[in-house]
Symmetry: C2
Subunit: 190 residues, 2 copies
């Protein structure tokens, strides 16, 4: 397990591997990509690959962690509930080539799970302030449902041609979820 930070060769190698995987995923989808593919595309020795990553999956994990950090930094505080939505769709729209490959049907379930976790944290933070006086339905279930909605919308968006704008996607999500959330999380206030 080479030292990541210090050596330039290490950085170079790891970057090449991750770049190779993402490129190949865009061409064949996650499942179809093989470790040998990555090795050839990255143009490195076979043993080199396995000293850095135990698995094809772990290459993906590292990439997703990077993506998660990026998403987390860019998050702005929008208005009201589900304020993160528009920013999310806009970001996905910008990072089209990458994120769409990850989220689309060709991305593989590993990605889905990872992204679902990421989103769940965002949603939970978003809903927590309002959830104080709402023991009616478990917050966990609400978060799960909301994340499911967003993820489903993101996936179809990623897979289909870009007919809809980020704003339209966010609008659809809001209109579908906001009323129910309002009723659930502030039953007395209204």
């Amino acid at each position: 397990m080479p030292d990541v930070a210090a050596d330039r060769r290490v950085r170079r190698t790891r970057a090449a591997i991750q770049r190779a995987l993402l490129t190949l995923m865009a061409e064949k989808g996650y499942e179809a990509v093989t470790a040998t593919d990555i090795i050839e595309r990255a143009d490195i020795g076979r043993s080199t690959f396995y000293t850095h990553f135990s698995d094809k999956q772990h290459v993906l994990y590292d990439s997703l962690d990077d993506l998660g950090d990026f998403l987390r930094d860019q998050r702005p505080g929008h208005d009201g509930v589900l304020g993160f939505g528009l920013a999310l769709f806009e970001h996905v729209d910008e990072q089209r080539d990458l994120v769409r490959v990850l989220l689309g049907r060709r991305g593989g379930h590993v990605v889905q799970d990872r992204v679902a976790h990421l989103l769940a944290e965002l949603v939970r933070e978003d809903l927590a302030p309002l959830a104080a006086a709402a023991p009616d339905v478990p917050l966990d279930l609400v978060v799960t449902g909301v994340v499911g909605t967003y993820l489903a919308l993101l996936r179809t968006w990623a897979d289909s041609g870009t007919t809809w704008t980020p704003a339209e996607m966010d609008d659809a999500a809001r209109r579908l979820l906001a009323p129910g959330l309002a009723a659930l999380l502030a039953p007395v206030t209204a």
Copy 2:
């Protein structure tokens, strides 16, 4: 490609194969099951397997089609929007051992996609009558979002211990989605 209907041997073989896959999925999850595993578990010849199914995936497809037919038959007309929900959760609860394996995290994305299609049809039929006067947001997006919610709830339900009852699950889904749907699909009526 053997004749399915006529010959008893064919029925026997196919049944054994499908049973083997589902059993193995319950033990290892879909991804981890190999064609060789199925062959050994079903106790059939290797060539026999490949004359019936080209793939591990296609074994699953057939099983899911059967499940889909079953679900479709059992569907009752409940009250109002999302009336299928309770029946869905109840069915999943009954067929626990099978459906939970299919829908859970160990099920594999192939299952998810297939089930998503199944649910999409149900939801679309459910929403169609109300969608006449609602050009505001594309029905496709609404259906996608709703299916995403239900699927997400089903998945966490399947993966976690059975703390919640089918009624509670359905209640959560309804409360989250129904208000938004009402506003979306009948903007004038209300």
